[in-house]
């Protein structure tokens, strides 16, 4: 199997997320990810990219979203770079209805960060001079875990 490309450039549109998911599927196949890890990668990447498009770029097309991927020490990394205003996923996320059995206390949105924290093996945010970088990490099977860039 040919290695998928290690870089993907998207435009800031939700429709571009389908291209990202196809690329992620190819990477998942190449690295032999199990079902749960595959689900986690798809989920986290959708949440992270949607966040960049919808909140970072405020749904305005024509802006770059650049994703790089590599494997190091048994971890598959995705670094998502954008040129949007600063974003801080490390800030505390208000609990979603926790402590209340009331359906009305649930917020329909705002679950993206919660899901990222729950499903990403690692999550690192960096503020760049001209944007943001969010790096996600996921464990890969041991026979594919050598440090490589496809």
């Amino acid at each position: 199997m040919d290695a998928p490309p290690s870089l993907l450039e998207l435009d800031s549109q939700l429709s571009e997320l389908m291209r990202a998911q196809t690329w992620i599927e190819e990477l998942s196949n190449f690295y032999g990810l199990g079902d749960e890890t595959r689900f986690a990668v798809q989920l986290c990447m959708e949440e992270a990219l949607a966040n960049v498009v919808l909140h970072g770029y405020r749904s305005e097309p024509g802006h770059p979203v650049i994703i790089r991927t590599w494997v190091s020490d048994g971890t598959l990394y995705f670094a998502i770079d954008d040129k949007a205003p600063p974003f801080a996923p490390s800030e505390p996320v208000p609990p979603n209805g926790i402590g209340s059995a009331d359906l009305e206390s649930l917020t329909p949105g705002g679950n993206g960060i919660r899901l990222l924290r729950r499903f990403a093996g690692s999550l690192v945010y960096e503020s760049l001079s001209d944007g943001n970088r969010l790096t996600l990490g996921f464990a890969v099977p041991s026979n594919k875990g050598a440090s490589v860039r496809p």
Binding site: M18, A40, L43, L106, N111, R118
Partner: protein, 111 residues
Amino acid sequence: MTFSTESMNGDITRVILDGRLDIQGAASIDLRMNVLAGSTRFLLLDLGSVSFLGSMGLRSIVLPAQAIKRRGGKMALLNPVPMVEEVLKASNIGEIIPIFHDLDDAVAALR
């Protein structure tokens, strides 16, 4: 994402989804879910064939559930696959909109 409905005894509408509740999947069901939220008192959302659930999909569940509740009704979730159930629990939605793995139990809870 395919969307089908089934009328059950006790004025319950069972909505059966098949596919991915990602951004596109959520967009494809939002209108029909909102219509049902305005017309159905008891909604059973069958997630047994939903292979993926993201935050936009969660929104497509929570908004109708809130609307149904305001109208004096109830909503329940049926048979999410394990990873989908993990998403529901991680967002705390699973604690507030009940999840069942048995159809009879779900129906009993809605009546």
